[in-house]
């Protein structure tokens, strides 16, 4: 059984999670809505939120599935997008109280997200696992709960908005990437190269036959490689897109 101190830490985690849960609810609601607009069944949208639990890659998966990209291309794109979690986990292992059973460690590790990382990184180390659990469990629940809500809202959307909804997924990508560009201006160069390669590829009919998925991965790879070679992130403020 948990000690009174653990219970107190768990409660503190839950209270800390409340404003973040509201943020998660709105974004996951948008995800459920957009998934339904892109003809994904509601149960698949909720399953993605429960199992993958990583915002940007879920939006990308919906987009690429609708664009008929291959499963391998979608998985590879999701893997590249979510690799940033490796770096967050590396930092968290230095902050968290790691004296816990392996199953507890696995559960906590599996629930690392940008938001959870942002909160835990501001806590005084060693951060108790009960606080981390109190923070992460409501966040996960609100993520897939919001997705379910979004799927329900989608069925009530007026017909007049259906055509304009085509831009919704792209506006979500803009909402994810632009704040990162503002915080770290050198990333504008990376975004520009990615767009240029992606756009250039569409102008070559031989390449275009290879499909949108491969075009996307190539553009991202070239831009990231060029960014890694040319840019130095010295004193710039670090803020990753989620």
């Amino acid at each position: 059984m948990w000690s009174p101190d653990s219970r107190r830490q768990f409660r503190r985690g839950v209270v800390t999670s409340i404003p973040r849960c509201l943020g998660y609810l709105t974004i996951s609601l948008a995800f459920g809505l957009l998934a339904r607009m892109n003809h994904m069944p509601a149960w698949q949208a909720v399953a993605l939120s429960m199992i993958v639990y990583a915002g940007a890659s879920q939006f990308v998966a919906v987009n690429m599935m609708a664009a008929q990209a291959t499963a391998l291309q979608i998985v590879l794109t999701g893997a590249i997008l979510n690799f940033r979690l490796f770096m967050m986990s590396a930092t968290l292992t230095r902050l968290l109280d790691m004296k816990m059973p392996r199953w507890a460690l696995a559960l906590l590790g599996a629930a690392v997200t940008d938001e959870a990382f942002a909160v835990l990184a501001c806590e005084e180390p060693p951060v108790p696992r009960s606080f981390a659990a109190g923070l992460m469990i409501p966040l996960w629940l609100s993520w897939w709960g919001g997705t379910l809500l979004g799927c329900l809202v989608a069925s009530a959307l007026p017909q007049a908005l259906q055509k304009a909804m085509g831009i919704a997924l792209y506006s979500m990508f803009i909402a994810l990437v632009v704040p990162g560009l503002k915080a770290r201006r050198s990333m504008i160069f990376v975004a520009f190269v990615a767009v240029a390669v992606n756009w250039g590829w569409t102008l070559v009919p031989t390449l275009e036959r290879w499909g949108a998925g491969l075009r996307l991965i190539t553009a991202a790879f070239v831009a990231s490689a060029l960014g890694a070679t040319v840019l130095r992130f010295g004193d710039e403020q670090k803020e990753e897109p989620s």
Partner: protein, 102 residues
């Protein structure tokens, strides 16, 4: 296995590996600096490539798509909540479509 499950379990496997690797390999090895920078750039590069040029054909006409896209960029630059950005962008696209059709 259906395409959906291959995609979901595939992304989940890579994502959880990214999350869990450091929890179970408790040494202080870091990636070479070039690869650290590469993976810092990758999310921005992927999302930017996802947006352009596809966004311009997303509503059926260039004017409403480009106008609504510009509005989304301005709102995102001002750190407006992502769901509000989606709602306002869709409404702007619908309004511009109506305007173009008149």
């Amino acid at each position: 296995m259906s395409r959906f499950w291959i995609v979901t379990l595939g992304i989940a496997a890579f994502t959880q590996l990214s999350r869990l690797l450091r929890f179970f390999l408790l040494d202080d090895r870091r990636l070479p600096p070039w690869w650290e920078r590469f993976f810092q750039c990758a999310p921005t590069a992927l999302l930017a490539a996802l947006i352009f040029p596809e966004v311009l054909g997303s509503t059926g006409d260039l004017i409403s798509a480009a106008g609504a896209c510009l509005i989304a960029v301005i709102l995102a630059w001002r750190h407006i909540n992502p769901t509000v950005i989606v709602a306002l962008t869709v409404l702007s696209a619908a309004a511009l479509q109506w305007f173009v059709s008149q």
